[in-house]
Amino acid sequence: MKLILLLTLLFSAGAHASELAQAFSAKDFRKVEEIYKRNPDQSYTPKELVYISYSLRRLGFYRQDIKLNVRLINEKYKKLHRKIVSDVARGETIDSEGYPEALKVLYWNLLNDYGRIIKSYEKQSKLIDKDHKHYLMFSKILSELEFREGKVDRFNDKILAHLKHLEDKVYRFTRSLSFQYVSWQTEATLAGNAKDTGLVITNSGVCAGGEAGWENAFYHFYVDGCVIAGSGGVSADASSPVTYQQSSVPAYGAKLSPGASMIVSSSGSRIGVRLPIIYTHQTLQDPKSDNYNIEQNEPLAYVASLYSRWQFKTWYFQSEFGKYFQAEQTYWGLGLGKNF
C-alpha cells in the first residue's frame, strides 16, 4: 500500500474523483479491473492507472499489469527508459540519482509481475525463458539503480530456486550397467518313504546386467535386469538327523525387477523398493537310494526388496535386501554400477 501512496503522490497532478477511484477506495479491486477491462484504451489519469495497476496485481493479472506499467513508462519516462536500457546493455555506470523514484517503482512492479508469472509455472516450458529474460533485465536495472537491493536479491533467490525446482522436476531417461555379488537361499525336500526332510540351499554368485528408466531430482522409476551365475551348498538343516550334503552345486538364472526410488541427497544417493522376479535353475543329485528322491521347489520366486544406492558422480554402489513372498528366505545383492 505504501507503493500506492508513493505513486499516487507522484502522479497526483490533475487527478479527479471517478467511479474507478471510488471502487479502489472501497477496495473493490474486481470492479476496478472490470472498469478498466470495459475500456482499456481510455485516457486514464496517472493516479487512476496506479489504482488499476495495483488492482491487477492484487487479482493476479500480472500480464495486464505489465502492459499497464509499460504504458506508464512509455507515457512518462520513455527517454529515461531507453537510456537506462542502453546503458545497462553497454555495461556503463548508472547514476541512480538521475532517475525518478516513480520510475524505479514501476521497474519494481515489472520485476514482481514477471517474478510472479515465473513462479506460477508448475513445469518446464519454453515460455519461461522469455519471461525470465525480461525478469533478468528488470532485476539488472534495479540493481544498477540500487533500488531495494536486499528485496531484489531475496526475490532473485526465490526465482532461481523456483526455476531449479522446475528443472529438477523434469524426468530424463537414464540407464546403467551393474555387477553385483548376490546370495540367496532356497529350499528343497528330500522325500523318503517314511518321512520327508527339508533341505536348505545357500547360494552365492554374481548378477550382471543393467537398468533403464526415468528419473528426476526426486524420484527414479526403472526396470532392472541381470543374469545370475553362482553355486551353493545344500544339506539338511542342522536339527535334522538325516545326512544329505552337496557342495558347489551350479546355479544359473535371471532376475527382473521393476523398482522405484526416492533420491535423498544432491549426490544422487537413493533408497527405494523393488519387486524382483527371480528365476533360478539348480539341479540337486538324487541320493543313491531308491527310498529317497529330491523334490525341488518352483524355479520362479517373487521377492520384495529394499534397495539403496550410493552415488559418486556416474559410478554407484548398490545394495539390495529382499524377502521372498510367503517364505522365510532372503535375497541379497551388493555391487557396483555405472550410468551411461
Partner: protein, 381 residues
C-alpha cells in the same frame, strides 16, 4: 537360552553415544560434538545444539520456535546453562528384542533395559581446555555372571587437557581407540578386536587434530576394576585423513594382551559423506589371536559396510552389511545383512528399528538363516 540372549544383547548396546555417520552432515571429527575426541560419551554444548537442530526432526516443536529457540532448550532438562563450568546428562536406552520373528522356529521376545547412565562434566578454560568427565550407569549382566560382575559400573571417567587446540591429552577410563566406533556393538568390527560395550580401559590418550589429519595414540593398562589376570594391556594408534574435503580415510592398529590371550588388530576404514546427512561407513580388518596354551590361536577377518540415507530431517534409513571369518585358514564365514530405520522425532528422543538376517556359508553344511529385530527407545536429558 536366557543367558545366551543376554550375552547377545550385551553386544548390541552402545557403550556410549557415538554416531560416526554424522560425517554426512559435514562433521569429520568427533571432537566437534563430544568431550572425548574419539567420540561417544557425553555431548558438549555444541553437540547438544546440533542434536536438537540439525539432527532431530522439527515436526514436534512449537511452530513459533525458531532454530535459536530450539538451540536454547538443548541443555540439561531443557534449560540454557547459567554457568560455564559444570554440565550433567542422563541417558536411558531400552529395546524390545525379537528373535526368529514369525519363524517356524520358536519366536522369542523380551524387553531389555540396556543403559541408564548419569554423567557429570566439569570444564574450565577457553574452549573447554580442561575437562573432567564421569559416566556411571547400569548395564545388564548375563544370568551366569550375576553376582560376579556389577550391574552398575563406571562406563568412563577421565581428565582431559587441550595443550593447544590441535593437541590434547586425556587420562582415565575410556573406550579403546580403534576403527570406526559404530553404535552397534554387535558389529563384528567391534566384537573381533574386543572394543565393545564393557571393554573400556584405563589409559592415556593423545589426540592430534590438524587441518586434514587426525591421529590418536592410546596406551592402556586394562580396566583396573577387573582382576589383574584379565586386564588387557597394550596400545593402539588410529589415524584419519580428510579426502576430497568431506570424506575420511583411516587406519588403526592395536596390540593388547592379558595372561590368557594376545590380540593384534589392524584395520582400514572410510567414512564417506553422501551429502545432506547421508553417509557410508566401511571398515575391513583382521585380528590375530594367540592364546596362552595355543588352543584357540587364529586370525579373524571382518568387514563392515553401513549406510545411512536421510530422506528428511530426523529420519535415516540404514543398510547394514557385515562379513566375519572366524578363522582365515577355514572356508566358513558369516554374513549379516539388515535394513533399519533411525528416527529422531525431537531432541532427546531416538526411536530405532533394526533387522538382522544372518547367513552362514560353509562347504560342508547349509543351515537356515537366523533372524532378529530390535525396536529401540533412547531418551536423554
Amino acid at each position: 537360552m536366557k543367558p545366551l540372549i543376554l550375552v547377545f544383547v550385551l553386544l548390541l548396546s552402545p557403550a556410549a553415544w557415538s554416531y560416526t555417520q554424522f560425517i554426512g552432515h559435514g562433521y569429520t571429527s568427533c571432537l566437534n560434538c563430544h568431550y572425548n575426541p574419539s567420540g561417544g560419551g557425553p555431548l558438549n554444548d555444541y553437540g547438544r545444539v546440533v542434536s536438537a537442530t540439525l539432527i532431530s526432526s522439527g515436526a514436534l516443536y512449537p511452530k513459533v520456535w525458531n532454530e535459536e529457540r530450539v538451540a536454547d532448550s538443548s541443555g540439561f532438562f531443557f534449560r540454557k546453562p547459567t554457568q560455564n563450568w559444570f554440565r550433567s546428562q542422563i541417558n536411558y536406552r531400552g529395546f524390545q528384542l525379537v528373535q526368529n520373528p514369525g519363524s517356524t522356529r520358536s519366536e522369542q521376545k523380551r524387553w531389555i533395559n540396556m543403559q541408564a547412565d548419569a554423567r557429570a562434566i566439569v570444564k574450565f578454560g577457553e574452549n573447554d581446555r580442561f575437562v573432567g568427565v564421569a559416566n556411571f550407569g547400569y548395564s545388564p549382566v548375563p544370568e551366569n555372571l550375576k553376582g560376579e560382575e556389577p550391574e552398575w559400573r563406571s562406563r568412563e571417567h577421565y581428565l582431559g587437557y587441550r595443550v593447544t587446540p590441535k593437541v590434547g591429552i586425556y587420562a582415565g577410563l575410556m573406550d579403546k581407540v580403534f576403527g570406526i566406533k559404530v553404535i552397534e556393538h554387535i558389529a563384528f568390527s567391534r566384537q573381533a578386536p574386543e572394543v565393545m560395550q564393557n571393554d573400556q580401559t584405563h589409559g592415556v590418550l593423545a589426540h592430534y587434530l590438524g587441518e586434514s589429519w587426525e591421529a590418536f595414540a592410546h596406551g592402556f593398562a586394562g580396566n583396573l576394576t577387573q582382576d589383574e589376570d584379565l586386564r588387557m594391556k597394550g596400545g593402539s594408534v588410529s589415524v584419519e585423513r580428510t579426502a576430497f574435503g568431506v570424506h575420511r580415510l583411516g587406519a588403526s592398529v592395536m596390540s593388547s594382551r592379558n595372561q590368557y590371550q594376545e590380540l593384534l588388530s589392524y584395520s582400514t576404514h572410510a567414512r564417506l559423506n553422501l551429502k545432506e546427512g547421508s553417509a557410508v561407513l566401511t571398515e575391513v580388518g583382521q585380528v590375530q589371536r594367540k592364546t596362552d596354551n595355543g588352543s584357540d590361536d587364529r586370525t579373524m577377518r571382518y568387514g563392515l559396510l553401513q549406510t545411512y540415507l536421510r530422506p528428511t530431517r530426523g529420519l535415516y534409513f540404514l543398510s547394514n552389511i557385515e562379513y566375519f571369518k572366524r578363522d582365515t585358514t577355514e572356508s566358513d564365514y558369516t554374513v549379516r545383512w539388515g535394513p533399519g530405520v533411525q528416527f529422531f522425532p525431537a531432541q532427546r528422543l531416538e526411536l530405532r528399528f533394526d533387522a538382522y538376517n544372518t547367513r552362514s556359508f560353509s562347504p560342508d553344511t547349509s543351515s537356515k538363516d537366523s533372524w532378529m529385530y530390535l525396536v529401540q527407545t533412547h531418551i536423554w536429558l
